[in-house]
Symmetry: C2
Amino acid sequence: MARAGLTRERLVRAGAELADEVGFEHVTVSELARRFDVKVASLYSHLRNSRELKTGIALLALEELADRAADALAGRAGKDALDAFANVYRDYAREHPGRYTAARLRLDPDTAAASAGGRHAQMMRAILRGYDLAEPEQTHAVRLLGSVFHGYVSLEAAGGFSHSAPDAQESWAWILDRLDALLRGRPAG
Amino acid sequence: MARAGLTRERLVRAGAELADEVGFEHVTVSELARRFDVKVASLYSHLRNSRELKTGIALLALEELADRAADALAGRAGKDALDAFANVYRDYAREHPGRYTAARLRLDPDTAAASAGGRHAQMMRAILRGYDLAEPEQTHAVRLLGSVFHGYVSLEAAGGFSHSAPDAQESWAWILDRLDALLRGRPAG
DNA sequence: GCAACAGCCTATAGGTATTAGGCAAAAGCC
DNA sequence: GGCTTTTGCCTAATACCTATAGGCTGTTGC
């Protein structure tokens, strides 16, 4: 019998694709086995359990998101950096809805500490260097940005802004302008 | 054999409690049957399927949330109204995490139209009457508020702000102050 | 060429969702 | 109060899904 060449790596990657296709909540070890044309039990040599698969997808998503963000941030500052970073989140969520959902999975503390989550926070703080905010304001601002980005993206994904004018893109631009003004401590144009 | 007195109403209500105890994603028809000391099949006379149970919990949560918000808003305006409304969301999510998650369930268009979702939007617009914003700014602002509230509450629920200073309450107050300033088009104090 | 290992398999057990069909309690009718 | 109808819960069965144990066989290393 030919071997399928399973790997934890390949399984997680395929799981991420599956998540984008059918939604993270419908990712299942059984479906994954089907895609590799292999019996379910075979996956358990590479994965402790289904939770590990989900965690793997979450970590992959966090990593990809951080990589994209780092890329987008290079050479930018101020409003430019804010826009670029925000768009990375929104675009990623739209291209990879399953992965994005996975990235919000609650990880246990150790796993979270070893994840790319820290890089995300660091990048937010880097953006805020363009606006002079001392502590504790800086932390408040990090939380505000995180809330707005995540909130907007997830409401948009849930279809909250479709079928109503003005379109989501316009509101997004308006929000980023106001956020920039807010952080600079000045009224918006 | 004594009858258990099952009702769609009672099942949904018990489902909501179950959600708060074990998390919305772990709400299951089987567990519900166990709680009523009844066989699983018995629930299917009252519920079309498990999706209907989840939808029911979502609608209940939206209703409760809207009721609380309406109550909190009565007799308030401006920043006062903004704070009251925001705190209703945050407090509800902390008291009833399962129900809150349920409220974010993606509903089909007809169900959504018949839900309390519309009241939520109406109340947001009522708050914004205290800040003079014409369309399309008003809609942008509704979306911003929705994003911030939902984003903050869900990041907080995911444990994103615990174990780090300053505490979540402080950031929340800061964010509401800035949001108020943003909507008034003035820099914050 | 052979021993050891690794990778996939069969078998099995238990959990969840859902449907079909049965029996008995409750409610309505005379 | 008995009789019929309805309704509520049950048993039985199917179909997935997760997970574990133990077996067979390519593959690798000596």
